[in-house]
């Protein structure tokens, strides 16, 4: 399958979304990403049992935190898909990119080097 997804997305690989901490999501934004989404396995299918559930809770926490510091919560999102769903990943990537584009550039961009990022 040769699927295309927006070239503005930078992928950060982690062994499990359970490895994604709150600070990782915040740092991505602080360093200039316009948005971040966490792509986890389907709920109930985590190889480490609860990794993706934990990630979802952390994403929810970050979204609330963003609201309190004047950033749009929608810059951060959690998606679930199985590893066999390449087309779904491409589709979500486009969807998230579009959503973030509507929000405009990250208003706190300090250096402006990194762009959208996915893990």
């Amino acid at each position: 399958m040769r699927l295309t997804y927006p070239s503005s997305i930078k992928i950060v690989k982690v062994p499990c979304t359970g490895r994604v901490a709150v600070i990782h999501l915040l740092r991505a934004l602080e360093k200039g990403a316009d948005g971040v989404f966490v792509a986890g396995c389907m709920e109930g299918d985590c190889k480490y049992q609860l990794g993706n559930i934990r990630a979802r809770k952390r994403v929810e926490y970050v979204r609330k935190l963003l609201a309190t510091i004047g950033l749009e919560p929608d810059r951060v999102a959690m998606y679930n898909m199985s590893s066999g769903e390449g087309p779904r990943f491409a589709e979500i990537s486009r969807e998230m990119t579009e959503k973030v584009r509507m929000l405009g550039p990250n208003p706190i961009r300090i250096k402006g080097v990194e762009k959208e990022k996915a893990a």
Binding site: A21, V22, I23, L26, R27, L29, E30, L65, T68, I69, G70, L71, P107, I108, I110
Partner: protein, 222 residues
């Protein structure tokens, strides 16, 4: 240990908004265990503050550090060379740590970054509950190891009151009735005799009521 919860960011912002350089100082003791003021929380708060002020187009440098403990001068001393670079410190330690930081660096403005809540335990990951109010004269031996002062909403010594219902306290259906727990425990131990004796008024002098407390262990002093 001592349990605390992070203060809302708005509250911290209100105190530091007119400053330029702030150090967020965590404590790796109790508040790290209850995920309120350890290194992780320092990083999150510092990052959030930087983003907040960037959004406001306000220059703000936010430093990060976390000490082994803030209730010992030895560890607080580690900041001696750094602290002068900042306009203020936001301490994520418990109320004791914040005050000791204030006493150690008496020229520095120190703001609390957490609300200190109680002495308690970790029920499960992410859930903490109270067990002790540091009354200064422990009576757990007579109550089957369950404290009526911290577990009964009215700190009754001859409970349970008439508001105990189905094992829960009258103030909240989520709160266990401390005296129901004590009763069951004493019954299980075959020590109900203890329950049947009226407990006389407690001497609260060793508690908060007696004024700020201090203790000395002479043989430990240098």
């Amino acid at each position: 240990m001592i349990m605390a919860r992070p203060k809302p960011i708005e509250e911290i912002v209100r105190e530091i908004k007119d400053l330029d350089k702030v150090l967020v100082a965590g404590c790796n003791g109790c508040v790290a265990v209850c995920e309120a003021g350890g290194l992780k929380e320092v990083e999150i708060l510092a990052s959030a503050l930087r983003m907040y002020f960037a959004r406001q187009h306000k220059k703000m440098e936010v430093g990060e550090v976390s000490l082994t403990r803030q209730c010992d001068r030895e560890y607080l001393g580690e900041l001696r060379d750094r602290v002068g670079d900042y306009d203020a410190v936001v301490s994520l330690a418990c109320g004791a740590g914040v005050q000791f930081m204030t006493e150690t660096y008496d020229k520095m403005r120190i703001f609390p970054g957490v609300d200190t809540c109680f002495i308690g335990v970790t029920d499960e990951k992410g859930v903490w509950s109270e067990r002790c109010q540091a009354c200064g004269s422990c009576l757990l031996a007579t109550t089957g190891g369950i404290c009526p002062i911290s577990r009964c909403s009215k700190r009754l010594l001859n409970g349970p009151c008439g508001g105990s219902s189905k094992g829960k306290c009258e103030i909240d259906k989520e709160v266990a009735c401390g005296w129901q727990l004590i009763y069951e425990r004493l019954k299980g131990l075959g020590e109900l005799k203890r329950f049947e004796q009226p407990t006389p008024p407690k001497d609260w002098i060793s508690s908060r009521e007696g004024g700020p407390r201090k203790m000395t262990k002479e043989e430990s002093r240098l």
